[in-house]
């Protein structure tokens, strides 16, 4: 086994770098430069699109279709929950509440301008603010960025089907059968594991026992930690704040782990 010289930042670490809180955002950013060279796994872009970009697009859609700031917040809460509401509140705070008082059409235009720019820029940032990308699984979905459609963006992540996917993830998992056996052994020793680890255990058993990975649909997104962990197998260091899954996965897969402890609160 050849160990790579780079560290790998998990998806959550990249998202933490988007946090205005210095003990999270600035600290994650600092770590990225201290652990240089840092790579991200291509599949992380799929997770980033689902966790961050889609929320931005939701805000943009609700702002565009609302007649008042009051209505925007209600609609954002109904569709995106408290996390999306907090994102919008952060944007308003960033721009300055005073500057958005007054006519709704002006406020709306300013918000749309910024949201429009953030969707494109956040996506570009994700790929360019690391030193490289690991893409052994060659996921088709990871190559699909937000695309312009009319006045907005298409930020959807389609279900994988034969018609829209040339899936190599299946081959990637099969090529890691021996490692998956170690993962199974580690997870089976635990008396209690998280829902995601339970799902990972089932999929790993399926691959080892049948030699088949049922890739169609959204399977990869339900076992993202396993996929990212396997891609990071030979890295110098894997940095994440997701201890719950990666402490056990790192034992099974064998990557050195660094837990970023600054981020605790998770909004749903």
């Amino acid at each position: 086994m050849t160990q790579h010289a780079f560290a790998v930042f998990d998806t959550d670490m990249q998202i933490h770098r988007f946090c205005e809180e210095p003990r999270v955002g600035a600290a994650a950013d600092k770590l990225r430069f201290e652990r240089k060279p840092v790579h991200a796994v291509a599949f992380s872009k799929v997770e980033f699109k689902g966790a961050y970009i889609q929320r931005l697009a939701l805000l943009q859609n609700k702002v565009r279709d609302s007649d008042s700031i009051q209505e925007v917040f209600v609609r954002v809460k109904n569709s995106g929950g408290r996390g999306a509401q907090m994102m919008l509140a952060q944007l308003i705070r960033f721009l300055g509440r005073e500057s958005l008082r007054g006519d709704w059409s002006d406020t709306k235009a300013i918000l749309l301008t910024h949201l429009d720019a953030q969707i494109g820029e956040a996506w570009r940032w994700f790929s360019t603010n690391v030193d490289g990308e690991v893409d052994s699984a060659k996921c088709t979905r990871a190559k699909e960025g937000p695309t312009r459609i009319g006045n907005g963006w298409d930020v959807g992540i389609p279900n994988c089907r034969k018609q829209n996917t040339r899936c190599r993830v299946s081959q990637f998992f099969k090529g890691n059968t021996e490692t998956l056996k170690h993962v199974i052994a580690i997870l089976e020793k635990e008396s209690s594991i998280s829902d995601e680890l339970q799902r990972i255990l089932e999929i790993a058993r399926d691959i080892v026992n049948t030699g088949v990975y049922k890739w169609e649909g959204t399977t990869c997104r339900t076992v993202g930690d396993l996929l990212i962990g396997l891609e990071a197998k030979d890295c110098r260091l894997f940095v994440t704040s997701n201890a719950k899954e990666h402490v056990l996965l790192s034992q099974g897969i064998g990557y050195p782990l660094e837990i970023f402890k600054n981020a605790i609160l998770r909004l749903k």
Binding site: C19, M86, I110, R148
Partner: protein
């Protein structure tokens, strides 16, 4: 009729036409032609060979094309970049540039224009001319010039890369994970105010 019109193609200064009446060039030429005269010449006999060019006794002053807000923005940013200027002037010019971009956001009618505008506003949020080096100001000037000619996606990618190249970012940190209790409370108060329409 083909006549060698003397069409001033550049605005002339007040010194050059001190007594001229301000006229619209099109109206001026139309009225001259309607009167059967060659521009600035004697009444026509109807014979093309009679039409001769004569220098105007008084040159009309052309109504200068009004500069667009983006023309002004480019000029203001060029001033902000000019190190021979007083820092106060540079700072004011930079703020004027930002104000113009901000006002343009209200009428941005193409997606790429809006995206580039938002990128520039975010990258220069709470910044002053003095905070930015000449390279960064050059990138901003180039980007503002791109705004003048219907930017495309490739322009946005180039500006984004150029901003990264000078260490600037157009990303606004909006992740809601990991916020402190203090910031969370502040945001909750903002949400409550917005929900009651008293932002």
């Amino acid at each position: 009729m083909t006549a060698p019109f003397d069409i001033p193609n550049a605005p002339i200064s007040d010194d050059e036409a001190p007594e001229a009446e301000v006229v619209d060039l099109y109206e001026w030429m139309s009225s001259r032609l309607a009167a059967g005269a060659a521009p600035n010449g004697p009444p026509s006999t109807g014979n093309a060979s009679d039409v001769r060019y004569q220098a105007p006794a008084v040159r009309p002053r052309v109504r200068q094309a009004r500069p667009t807000p983006l023309d002004v923005a480019v000029a203001q940013l060029a001033t902000a970049r000019d190190k021979s200027r007083d820092p106060v002037e540079r700072s004011n010019s930079f703020d004027t540039w930002r104000n113009i971009l901000r006002s343009l956001a209200k009428n941005a009618n193409t997606e790429a224009f809006r995206e580039l505008l938002g990128l520039l506003l975010a990258a220069t949020h709470k910044k002053d001319a003095g905070d930015l080096d000449d390279q960064t100001l050059a990138v901003l000037l180039d980007a503002t010039t791109r705004l003048k000619s219907q930017p495309a996606a490739i322009d946005i990618n180039r500006v984004s890369a150029a901003l990264r190249g000078v260490g600037a970012t157009g990303v606004i940190p909006l992740s809601a994970d990991g916020l402190s209790e203090e910031v969370t409370r502040e945001l909750e108060e903002l949400i409550e105010a917005a929900e009651q329409n008293r932002l």
